[in-house]
Amino acid sequence: MKLNRRSFLASSAAATAVMGTPMILRAQPTEYVVASSLPLTGPFATAGQLVSPAMKMFEALVNEDGGIGGVPIRTTIEDSGYVPATALANYQRALATEPNLVMYYGDSTGFMKLVAPELKGENATLMGSTSFASDLANPAENPYQYLPGPSYEDQVDILLQNIKDAGGSTVAFIFSNTEFGRDPIEHGKKKAEELGIKVVLEEATKAQGADIPTHVTKLAQSGAEHCILQGYVTGVWPQLIGGARQFGLPTQFHGTFWGMEKLIADRVTAEAGPFLEGYSGVMPYRYSYDQEEAPIYQRYAAFQKKAFAGTPLENYMPTWGLQSLISLNLGIEALRRVANKGLEITADRAAEELAGINDYDSGGFFGGPVSMVDNKIGTGRVYTYKAESGLFEPSSDWFTV
């Protein structure tokens, strides 16, 4: 944060007024900025457009609770189109135009990796993101970026373990040809080998507009009992499963966080029948309809009813929105801890506080109190989709990795 003339005068006046107290002289900005890049257009537009209202809700609720040390926050949302370079340009622009930028929320694995080496000295900002890419949980090299859950590699580990426990012996990996899709594949192959599961197919597809018949054919001929899908958000994965079911393949499908959205599953079920029955995957959080033990969900639900009446968010918060909310909450928690110590907010201090988050009560996002270990939170559980109720229902206990 820069000390400008006006803030310097204001704070010296304040300091004179409270002379004698141990208050440290510092510039207190009138607001803090939490900027973000979201994919409002492009292949993952559905997700970005559902997350952006959650950002506004987050802003309102944080300010209701007194902002950061009494200073209100303001959120800004930029469109990245899911292009890492565009998101990087947004970040650089935010750095240059917002002197009080304290946190940034990025939108893709590609962007987070692209921006990581830029985060040095005064260009550094605390940075959450929509990505669970394994490389981002690396506090030694990059303390500013963090994951609000287990990494994709962890998630694939859990799925493979589950497959093993269910007696599966062959697995296929189908993933989008993006960084997001490729992230856990190498690791997953190794893990499968360790567990004695044979990887019978590794298939890269386009992130959107994939050639479904060909991919399904390859899956059919590989004869895989289980198939792990990675790197999809709204499209491709339902069509792949649909195609496989129409062929009468008995393959069981599993997904990671981004392929576990109820809205998409419901939409597909309404359009093409209940073929997602039995689809399972890893989810670090409770679904938003599971409110009993989650006081924060109840608070969100009340806000949503009021603010988002008439939109899909009125009665339901997608998992993508939940991920953004917990990610931002963790960041705000770190920033508040810095502010409460009476220190000026810098990226380094925020990162240090973030790494020290221990036994944190998230208000019900997770199954219990969580800790930041290596800039990620290794907890979650496996859910299975039930077409009849239209709900993802837990099929395992909360586990930690």
Partner: protein, 356 residues
Amino acid sequence: MINANLKSTYAADERVLNNRYKQFFVYGMALLLAVFGAFANDYLILIACKMGLLLIAVVGINVLTGYTGLVSLGHAAFVAIGAYAVTIFNNLATGIIPAGIMPFFSIPFAVFLAAAIGVLVGLPSLRVKGLYLAVATLAANFIVIFLIEQDLFAPWTGGMTGLTTNAPNFFGWVLDSKREMFGMIAVIGFVSLLAAQNLIRTRVGRAFIAIRDRDYSAEILGISLLKYKLTSFAISAAYCGLSGALFAYFYARILPEQFELDLSLELVAALIVGGMGRTLGPVFGVIVIVMVPEVIKITFGAITGDAAGMAQLRAPLQEIAFGVLLVFFLLKEPLGINQIVDRMLRAANRWPFARG
């Protein structure tokens, strides 16, 4: 208005800046850039750096398309080659070449590699032209990016996940802020623009223009199409490679997807908007192509007050504006902004006796 240049010596005839207006303009611009670099705020510096990077590549396209008349929709590939070459060279030569003089080896390496691959990609231009060449270069762009992404080359190129680059280091002076970068980009951009201006008054440049006007006629006049078409490809690829090398230095990380077809089209669009076959055409074009989305962004933000539901409309509007600009200039002013500026200058000069 200068109607003619009086040249009383051979030295005067050979000068690049052959009249006082040009001298004044060039020196004035250099001064202006220096002042800008010292006093502009971070945001303007950022935008100016982007313009500078794009400018060098568009100057390259200008040599090929504007002067030689060959169409390429694949020059982003050379930007990619420049960016990757400089980084890979850096990574491999660390320890062999001291860091302080690394850029003096890595940048020329990148430029030469881009030029060499430019010759290779230019080979079809001997057999095909116009549309066929456009598609051939477009195909080359897809193939180059594809090869960079391949696992086979991943140990060097980083595959899909890209490559972390290093900050340039000139004799121990590490350019790690955007303002220092701006200095480097501005100097190199300025020099490359002057070099292009110089090129077209040489024998080579005149041969390019002859080929553009009618390639068979040029050949009959004794201009070797093989030699000059490939030279043109090499020079334009070298410019793009230089742009790519600076691109890699400017950003902390490069990804293959930054150099896809979109960039190729942007380069050609900037040239068309600015004015083909004119030295200052790329300058005008780059300013417009970079500024229009920024202006849309700022005005759009002001109008909608950053409402959450509206932000998603901005990127499509920017895209449409890009297309409309391109189509507008092609249909209404094929010679680009340079021509408009010329016309205005001429009118100002002749005022009040004549207009237009």
